[in-house]
């Protein structure tokens, strides 16, 4: 690193650690984060075992996905985060290229034409990559500008966020588009965008939402909004998922019905019980205490992510770590809020608990970046 701007001054650092490189730092791993993630994964597998009705192959495949995720995480962590900083524009350009390719030769699954099935590669969703490529680019862009960002920079930031988001919306994958947009917005927020702009933007969004609802929203989106306000307008159709999910959660009570005893899930009343609505299974079987335990685990991971962001050496690392952490939170919150009826239904899984492939790997790439920031940053300062 020849650019001194990015070398964090050593003043805040414990003098001892400068010389005693722990084994964890050598292998570029953050133990608290690893513990938190592992606990979440373990809990997730336990819930999935019950949610899938004791389907061992499903659980085994999910465990394998997690192992792959961990390997990816460790691999990512071995790279200095500034390697990603240098390559951010290239990755972004490549990501846009892949999104464009999806539009041409993409494969459709679950209503979204977002998969790319290239010869010689496992099929994957380029939109998933954008979840960390967009904040990476934003962090790269804003870190090299004076902060708080000026209006001109905000404009270009918006362009950088909205172009991939628009491409993903064209793929009909609103959930991912929202996540990508949010991951970029978090960077801008953390970079110190003025509150009046934030508030103005928020008000503009509020004012625009009726127009969106009336003119732009698709039928199923309108339905979801209407169902959110009154699930019983169509209790066996659009409102079915949320009603059954609330019944499952509510009937779990404080202590839950016990592992594998969730009647709602085992009698197939909960739709998508392995994926988006797995929280309903958890809440039914482990009760309020189980949900609080899950929230504690998430808070632990989030706290560690915040600490890593706070302690990072340079603005790029800070913004990236902060965005990854907040995006993770956004994921968790949106899913839990949607399943419990606090938000309209948006098709997002519960991180590390829901069954899934690509999205799990994306999460682990994010954790790998956090670990990279935490471990490389320190070693550089020596």
């Amino acid at each position: 690193m020849n650019n001194q701007d990015f070398i964090r001054q050593s003043d805040g650092l414990d003098s001892k650690s400068r010389y005693t490189k722990s084994i964890w730092r050598t292998i570029h791993t953050d133990p608290p984060l690893l513990v938190g993630i592992s606990l979440l994964c373990g809990f997730g597998l336990i819930v999935l075992f019950s949610a899938s009705g004791g389907d061992v192959p499903v659980v085994r495949r999910q465990a394998l996905t997690m192992v792959v995720g961990l390997v990816v995480m460790f691999t990512v962590a071995q790279f200095n985060v500034h390697f990603f900083r240098q390559w951010a524009p290239t990755l972004y350009a490549a990501g846009l290229g892949l999104l464009g390719l999806v539009l041409l030769v993409g494969v459709e699954a679950n209503g979204a034409k977002s998969w790319l099935d290239l010869p010689g590669l496992p099929s994957f969703q380029p939109s998933e990559l954008m979840k960390f490529v967009v904040p990476m680019l934003m962090a790269w862009y804003l870190a090299s500008r004076p902060l708080p960002p000026r209006f001109k920079h905000l404009f270009w930031s918006a362009v950088m966020i909205l172009v991939p988001a628009a491409l993903i919306i064209i793929q009909n994958d609103t959930g991912t588009a929202i996540m990508v947009t949010m991951s970029g917005i978090f960077v801008v927020l953390l970079a110190g965008i003025r509150w009046r702009i934030v508030i103005a933007g928020f008000i503009a969004l509020l004012l625009a939402s009726p127009a969106w609802f009336l003119f732009l929203a698709q039928e199923h989106q309108k339905n979801r909004i209407l169902t959110f306000f009154n699930p019983y307008r169509d209790p066996t159709g659009a409102g079915y998922n949320i009603i059954q999910s609330q019944i499952a959660i509510g009937s779990g009570g404080i202590y839950g019905k016990g592992w594998g005893e969730g009647a709602q899930s085992h009698l197939d009343f909960i739709p998508e019980s392995n994926t988006d609505f797995i929280l309903a299974v958890l809440a039914e079987e482990f009760g309020l205490l189980g949900v609080l335990f899950l929230i504690s685990l998430y808070l632990f991971v989030l706290a560690r992510g915040c600490y890593i962001a706070y302690a990072a050496n340079d603005t790029f690392s800070r913004l990236l770590a902060g965005s990854i952490t907040l995006t993770f939170f956004f994921y968790v919150f949106v899913n839990m809020a949607m399943v419990s009826g606090l938000l309209p239904v948006i098709g997002l899984p519960l991180p590390l608990i829901s069954r899934g492939g690509t999205s799990v790997v994306t999460l682990f790439i994010g954790f790998g970046l956090l670990m990279s920031i935490q471990t490389h940053g320190r070693s550089l300062s020596i």
Binding site: I247, G252, C306, G341
Partner: protein
């Protein structure tokens, strides 16, 4: 670009970021707090509500239909059994496009239009949501496997086992045992709440005969089970169960061997036979021919089969002749004669000179003697009551009836059950007509004419009686006045059944008990009085019964009768140019009881035989009664009359048993 770098203040940026991070952290905590509040609201505040909703989702109470009681005859032969069948059923709520599903099923198992229509009718009945509606009863093994293999394409279509009624003897005693069939709209509407509940799991209900009369006994009490069902309505497990109480098994007095003998004796004739044990009132045989196969009705009779049964205007197989009224003809003469003795209108010495017709004073119309219709002209001549009975002299009874008057006649005949239903448990039996002034005034708004009495004296005119009533009257005659009301039900679950008769019928009492012996002797002469040198001095049924079987080991008291079907004038009937079509021929009747005039043993069987358009009571109906009596006394009871006559006590006690 270099200028920008200089503008960067790293410490300030760090401060700014940290502040933003704190704000973000506060937001995170606030949002989690909101989430926890929502969860507490769901899981703690509304726990009871959602817990109940969850149970409501999965727990379903369903009916468990009771097994219908079996029906046995008096020797333990099954008359009505339960048999497992497999039904093809559809849960409407689980089928997307019903027509599409039915069309697809059609390609698999060939649904007839009839079946589709029936299914729509069943579907139209009000029913519990998500309950299965039968599309086809009794699915064959081949069809079963076709449906099973393609089951995944047929959501909501299932093969369900069910117990249904089966009548092993098919059309034997079909009218009296009756049949069950699907509960119809009207029956459903007539249920009170308790009954509707009790029939919650039941598809069938007794429609006719015993099945209907003893529906309450046979049906049993519905059971319940709480089952856990999944999202698709499949039963996952049973949680609680209240067993149904099976219906009672009942035994009838009906003897299937005698029933078979009676049906065989009737042969190809349309008609009816009722045989009663005068000691108990138990109905031993009850035949109405032609019969039908009650099994057809159980699983929903097809329109085609049904129209065959109902459009046959001559055979009318569904019509129960044994409980339907016909003119009884001369079979009422012994009863009227007994009434004459009792009221002192005739005595053993009383005679008339029969010119072959009867005229009311001042009326030119002649009431002819129908029994002479085909015989040589002229009358019976010197005739007393006994001869009037065994030769069936109409003129004697015209005179007797005329002198008795309709009021006395009605009062006396009513004691034998004419115009009334004495049966304990055959409430669907018709009562016929025992005419009276009041009856004619009420039904026809006409006064009673003396001529009406004349017609009634020979069981014609307004007089109508069912074979059941005739057999009942015969059994009262056999019992010398002691009334034992006819009944079907002998035992419930093996326990002998004593009906609680609310309004018991009084015994018939006459001034001199010897009148009974006299009438029995007269009726015995009908069968046994041999032809002798004196012209026509023989019993009307002698040639057909006692002369046919000179070894006849017992005596039978009987009375033949013929009843005019329509008012065809004598001239037309006698004219040789005109061929009287079969349905216009007279009905042949015969009543009897046996053994008669036997000091060792009381009468064991009283019979009424009705042969539709059989023409001759004595030669057509009489031998039928004889065959049935033979079967009962000789084959079933195995009474050794020779031994009885020689005074063997052991055999008598055997018979009494």
């Amino acid at each position: 670009m270099a200028g920008k770098w200089q503008l960067k203040d790293h410490e300030a940026e760090r401060e700014l970021f940290s502040r933003r991070l704190v704000v973000a952290g506060v937001f995170v905590l606030l949002l989690f707090a909101a989430l926890i509040i929502k969860l507490v609201n769901l899981q703690v505040s509304q726990y009871e509500y959602f817990s109940a909703r969850s149970d409501g989702n999965r727990l379903h109470s369903q009916y468990v239909p009771p097994a219908r009681g079996l029906i046995f005859d008096n020797r333990g032969q099954l008359l009505a059994d339960n048999q497992p069948i497999f039904n093809l059923t559809i849960v409407r709520e689980q089928v997307g496009d019903l027509d599409e599903t039915l069309d697809y099923l059609d390609t698999l198992i060939d649904l007839s239009d009839d079946e589709r229509e029936q299914f729509n009718i069943r579907l139209g009945r009000n029913r519990v949501p998500f309950s299965s509606v039968p599309l086809r009863y009794v699915l064959s093994d081949a069809d079963k496997s076709k449906v099973a293999v393609n089951g995944y394409k047929l959501p909501g279509v299932a093969i369900e086992p069910q117990f249904v009624r089966q009548y092993p003897l098919a059309d034997l005693a079909a009218h009296s045992v009756g049949y069950v069939s699907e509960i119809n709209r009207a029956e459903l509407d007539s249920f009170d709440d308790e009954e509707r509940e009790n029939y919650g799991g039941t598809n069938h209900i007794g429609k006719t005969g015993i099945e209907r009369t003893y529906e309450d006994l046979l049906h049993g009490t519905v059971g319940y089970e709480i089952v856990e069902k999944n999202n698709r309505g499949q039963v996952m497990r049973r949680l609680d169960r209240t067993d149904p109480i099976a219906g009672k098994n009942i035994s009838l007095y009906l003897d299937s061997q005698l029933q078979i003998a009676a049906e065989e004796a009737l042969g190809d004739y349309r008609g009816a036979v009722v045989a009663i044990d005068p000691n108990t009132g138990g109905i031993l045989a009850m035949v109405s021919k032609p019969g039908f196969d009650p099994n057809l009705f159980v699983t929903g009779i097809s329109n085609k089969n049904y129209s065959v049964l109902v459009t046959d205007e001559i055979n009318t197989p569904l019509f129960d002749r044994s409980t339907s009224p016909y003119p009884p003809g001369s079979t009422i003469k012994p009863f009227l004669g007994l009434g004459g003795l009792h009221h002192g209108l005739v005595d053993y010495e009383f005679t008339i000179e029969d010119p072959g017709y009867f005229r009311l004073p001042g009326v030119s119309y002649r009431w002819g003697d129908y029994t002479l219709r085909t015989a040589i002209g002229g009358g019976h001549g010197h005739t007393d009551l006994q001869k009037a009975i065994y030769q069936s002299c109409d003129t004697f009874f015209y005179d007797l009836g005329n002198r008795m008057g309709i009021d006395t006649m009605h009062g006396f005949m009513a004691q034998f059950g004419f115009g009334e239903n004495f049966a304990v448990d055959i409430n669907y039996a018709r009562t016929g007509v025992l005419p009276s002034r009041e009856w004619k005034r009420a039904t026809r708004n006409e006064p009673w004419y003396p001529g009406d009495t004349i017609n009634s004296s020979i069981g014609q005119g307004y007089m109508w009686a069912t074979p059941l009533q005739l057999a009942t009257a015969a059994s009262i005659m056999a019992n010398k006045g002691k009334v034992v009301q006819p009944r079907m039900l002998k035992a419930i679950d093996g326990e002998p059944y004593q009906p609680d008769i609310q309004d018991p019928v009084n015994d018939v009492v006459v001034n001199d008990a010897d009148y009974w012996r006299y009438i029995e002797e007269s009726m015995s002469m009908v069968v046994h009085r041999a032809y002798n040198d004196v012209f026509r001095e023989y019993g009307t049924a002698y040639a057909a019964i006692a002369m046919e079987d000179r070894e006849m080991p017992y005596k039978m008291a009987g009375k033949s009768g013929s009843a005019q079907v329509v008012g065809i004038s004598q001239e037309i009937l006698q004219s040789e140019d005109i061929q009287v079509s079969d349905p216009n021929k007279d009905h042949a009747l015969f009543i009897s009881y046996a053994p008669a005039e036997n000091t060792n043993i009381k009468p064991q069987i009283a019979i009424a035989v009705f042969v539709e358009n059989g023409e001759h009571g004595s030669s057509v109906a009489g031998p039928i009664a004889k065959k049935i009596t033979d079967t009962y006394l000789l084959d079933i009871l195995q009474i050794d009359f020779a031994a009885l006559d020689s005074g063997s006590d052991t055999l008598v006690s055997l018979v009494d048993e």
